[in-house]
Symmetry: C2
Subunit: 198 residues, 2 copies
Amino acid sequence: MEYIADAIKIAIEEFAKLPGIGRKTAQRLVFFLIKRKPEELEALAQAIRSLKDRVRYCSVCYNLTETDPCGICSHPGRDARMICVVEEPNDVVAIEKTHEFKGVYHVLGGALSPLEGIGPDDLRIKELLQRLQGNVEEVIIATNANAEGEATAVYLSKLIKPMGIRITRIAHGVPVGGDLEFTDEVTLARALTGRTEM
Amino acid sequence: MEYIADAIKIAIEEFAKLPGIGRKTAQRLVFFLIKRKPEELEALAQAIRSLKDRVRYCSVCYNLTETDPCGICSHPGRDARMICVVEEPNDVVAIEKTHEFKGVYHVLGGALSPLEGIGPDDLRIKELLQRLQGNVEEVIIATNANAEGEATAVYLSKLIKPMGIRITRIAHGVPVGGDLEFTDEVTLARALTGRTEM
């Protein structure tokens, strides 16, 4: 491969390590970057570096943050008696975008997965139970709607119910704007089971 | 957006500036990177930085290189009497991958585009004509098969033909493995016009 400069090759390899980015896309990105101004490259390189330098986990909810506790945990308008349990920090972003939830979060850092060797001790479940010693009225389980997320939800509900705290699961059903015809059977079954009064 | 750390927001914005990467993909990439080891982030940041520090244009063919002249121009096995004219450095990569071409290249740095205000003086056409003063037998025009690439090919051919140098254009036609049924009319028309003896 004498026809391609080493620095370019290395950059292509680094980009190709990112999820959903193959060698062709990586090549396109690198050749795009080469045509940019040096300060634009520097901005991207610096932004990547800052992720490790400046971002850490909130000691209360384990969301990613630059301040500890995070902006949500320290916000006076948020109701700390309602905790929404999610798998990952990007789930917090997704829920916050709805502007529907005024409680606080607890980020587990994944979901139970015996196949991948992820057990209860690998998640921040102990830390969640600790938080529940305080004044908490409801725990909303918002783990993903796949096998691992469901298993985690069931596991948590068995732990938390005996503590006398209300525990709920976000609804699963037909997506808004979705066509019944194109909804898979499992989702449709869940939509039927979870039907509500009109 | 108090729910998302500034460093993460900045990184998402920087990634979203890359071509073909929207906000959702940028977010996914950033949350992926946060979970990596610091040295992996550093490797990516450093690779991006190196693009400007180490890579420059070859003074002969204007391909991207770390040595001047580049590996192709300085290679004793390459035939300098045959020059393949391409728009961009990634076109060199594409042609080199075929292992079919043993000549050298000339990278124009784009194609003529009156709409975008790119005229002959914005491309390395002067430099190409300079090279043709030497011992050159054939110029192969391998600009893209779109309007700009075709216009550039025609423009170059008008300049070079009077110099008594053979000038050719790469063939356009049905892609290998392609179905006639799914080939667009323009390509099919070109495939017919460019038919060869069997």
